[in-house]
């Protein structure tokens, strides 16, 4: 189970830079761009390292990809032929260079466990995960942030206690068990939501693929029935993931808010006679936006990894299941491709929250 990580905002713990009059806005922008280039470089390095680690893991795994290709009944001759065809007889660094060259050309190779080109597989499975993760995060943010803010504002009050219990229960539930139970109740007994899978089976393949996100594709196609169907399928798993990220987001929001609410400028705002709502949302909340965005990005990122267990329970053809299956089959092309996509997203989210930090926080260098 992928638990999101609680991380500080970028540059957390770095003392706020000493103020000084800006010489010119342009200079400030230039500095920002230059440091962004530095970040981009280190991100590229991270990605390269990620690939290398994945590649090495793939090679030390005691799972034989050749067997998956040639099958259980294969003779030694068939096996050897496939072994060479897959380039496994070459030294590992040569294999890696060859792989890198292909990746740079946009070719992730062919998956041996699905028989399809990895790129094509990823275009299919990743949108499924993105759709689920986005909706889940949306739910988590829409409920979690207000809950956290209110809990902090009413610290020690009953709302705080309820929020605490709600959040900690969300943290503590084995999500696969909750998923099974939810499916049984809302689908099996009540029939309120769609069953396992992204769509009702009769809608299968009825909506032309544009983005790969069925909710959007069905709207593009103007097919309301398909949209309703897709929505009824996604609502349960997304709520579960949403609950989970809600738990995380609300706890972090509360903690950030408490820190801000004890700040002097909050007293200033009160002295000015501002209403409590204005003090909280207009002043304190604005100050937690940056770390909060980082937290949300991280939570979103961890959902993008694909919540393998949720995907299994809901027969959701997402990237988590895809990578897991590929890994257990020794299908390294698919694992590498999947890791690149997930890693890139993670890195991109990091970059994004860094950029937002620079844009939103006037104190940023």
């Amino acid at each position: 189970m992928a638990q999101p990580d609680i991380l500080g905002p970028p540059g957390q713990g770095v003392p706020p830079p000493a103020g000084g009059m800006p010489s010119a806005r342009r200079a400030r922008l230039g500095r920002r761009l230059r440091s962004l280039a530095g970040i981009a470089l280190s991100l590229a390095l991270t990605l390269l390292g990620l690939l290398l680690v994945t590649f090495v893991i793939g090679r030390i795994m005691p799972i034989d990809p050749v067997l998956k290709v040639v099958g259980e009944r294969a003779t030694q001759a068939q096996y050897d032929a496939a072994y060479q065809a897959m380039g496994l007889d070459k030294p590992i660094w040569q294999q890696f260079l060859r792989y890198m060259a292909e990746v740079l050309r946009g070719d992730f190779g062919r998956s041996i466990s699905t028989g399809h080109p990895v790129a094509q597989d990823l275009l299919r499975v990743f949108p499924a995960t993105v759709e689920l993760a986005t909706l889940g995060t949306l739910i988590g943010v829409c409920v979690g942030v207000p809950l956290g803010v209110v809990a902090a504002a009413r610290r020690g009050g009953w709302i705080d206690q309820v929020a605490r219990v709600v959040a900690l229960v969300g943290y503590s539930m084995p999500i696969f068990w909750l998923g099974l139970m939810g499916l049984l109740l809302f689908y099996g007994i009540l029939g309120w939501v769609g069953g396992p899978g992204r769509q009702g089976i009769i809608y299968d393949g009825m909506v032309p693929t544009v983005t790969g996100l069925i909710l959007i594709d069905s709207l593009v196609a103007g097919d309301w029935a398909a949209f309703r169907d897709a929505f009824s399928h996604i609502v349960l798993p997304a709520s579960l993931l949403g609950y989970f990220s809600l738990a995380y987001i609300s706890r972090m929001t509360r903690s950030f808010m408490l820190e801000q609410l004890s700040a002097e400028y909050v007293v200033t705002a009160r002295v000015k006679g501002l209403s409590e709502g204005r003090v909280i949302w207009g002043h304190a909340f604005r100050n937690i936006l940056v770390p909060l965005i980082t937290v949300i990005a991280l939570s979103f990122g961890s959902l993008l990894e694909g919540s393998v267990l949720t995907e299994i329970v809901f027969s959701w053809p997402g990237i988590g299941q895809y990578i897991t299956k590929a890994l257990l089959a020794g299908d390294m092309n698919a694992v590498l491709g999947g890791t690149v996509v997930v890693g890139t997203c993670f890195v991109a989210l990091n970059l994004l929250s860094d950029i937002l930090y620079r844009l939103l926080d006037p104190r940023a260098k």
Binding site: M1, A2, Q3, D5, I6, L7, G8, Q12, G13, V14, P15, S42, L45, T46, L47, G49, L50, V53, T54, I57, I60, M61, P62, I63, R155, Q161, R164, V165, L168, V169, Y171, S172, M173, P174, F176, W177, L180, M181, L184, G188, R251, S255, M257, L258, E259, L261, S262, E305, V308, L309, G320, I323, T324, L327, L328, V335, T339, V342, G343, F346
Partner: protein
């Protein structure tokens, strides 16, 4: 506790370092004790430890004894929590399973934060290229899909509970490293570090004597909050068949066993599910309470 000891502990003007330290601990305990939910968490965990320690005496039956004729029995006087697919007593398995859970939690809690503390403080303290290299490595591990990395480790090392725990530990250190680094950066330039340096303390001494103790409290909070995640991750590995090996009564594996019976024999999955839930919740409550006590951020208004 007598009134005088209490007064001594709560004194505004402690006479010795020891009194100050004990006093701070006692103050923390009082804050913690006031948090009823956290106390519930602590009580559950103490209970868990006791159950694990006295499992052979508490368990009503042999957790491994099969009886195919008595399989999938609902909770009854004979089997309080029913029996599983091989007719084993679920309660007894849960009781023995608490040992496995404690083993997982204990091992991960011993390994991951220590790695993280070391990497993070060294990076933060050394700065420069050391910092760059260590943090890039940390980032790589962070960017890696976590369960996938754990899966890869387990697959590479062979499935067993020990390897699963090792894999979890090896994949969960990066957040600690980031946290420890951030803490170190705030401490590094503090005046008392400079003072210690002037007194001739070497970098290693500064690290161990001054930086580590200050990072520990926020790490402890994180660890307590993460334990629930660790239990759930271990259960997830068990769910995928890569954790504990049969017939070990690991809770996650028990849920996994029970899921094929979930529609008709709900207790087989629900009982271990409840156990995991209760213990995770206990850790979370404890962590949350500890955060109020130890984490300077967001505490006291």
């Amino acid at each position: 506790m007598t009134q005088t000891t209490r007064a001594w502990l709560l004194s505004d003007a402690p006479q010795t370092r020891r009194q100050a330290r004990l006093g701070a601990l006692y103050q923390g305990w009082l804050t913690f004790r006031a948090n009823r939910l956290a106390m519930v968490g602590l009580a559950i965990l103490v209970l868990l430890v006791l159950v694990a320690a006295f499992a052979p005496w508490i368990a009503p039956q042999n957790p491994y004894a099969q009886n195919l004729a008595e399989r999938l029995r609902p909770p009854s006087a004979q089997h309080w929590l029913g029996t599983d697919a091989l007719g084993r007593d679920i309660l007894s398995r849960l009781i023995f399973g608490s040992r496995v859970t404690l083993f997982i939690v204990g091992t991960v809690a011993l390994i991951a934060p220590v790695i993280g503390l070391f990497v993070g403080t060294v990076a933060g303290f050394a700065a420069g290229w050391v910092d760059q290299v260590l943090m890039r490595i940390t980032d790589i591990f962070l960017a890696f899909p976590k369960l996938i990395l754990a899966l890869a480790f387990v697959a590479a090392l062979g499935p067993s509970i020990g390897n699963a725990v090792l894999a979890l530990a090896l994949t969960s250190w990066p957040p600690y490293a980031r946290l420890a680094r951030a803490e170190t950066l705030t401490i590094r330039n503090a005046d008392y570090i400079a003072a210690a340096r002037l007194q001739g303390a070497g970098p290693l001494r500064l690290l161990i004597g001054h930086v580590w103790p200050l990072c520990v409290s926020s790490l402890i909070v994180r660890v307590a909050l993460d334990m629930a995640g660790i239990i759930l991750s271990a259960a997830g590995l068990g769910f995928l068949g890569l954790g504990a090996q049969p017939p070990m009564p690991e809770w996650g594996a028990m849920i996994s066993d029970g899921r094929s019976y979930i529609l008709d024999f709900w207790w087989v999955a629900a009982m271990p599910g409840m156990a995991i839930f209760v213990v995770s919740l206990a850790f979370n409550l404890l962590g949350d309470g500890l955060r109020d006590v130890l984490d300077p951020k967001g505490a006291r208004e």
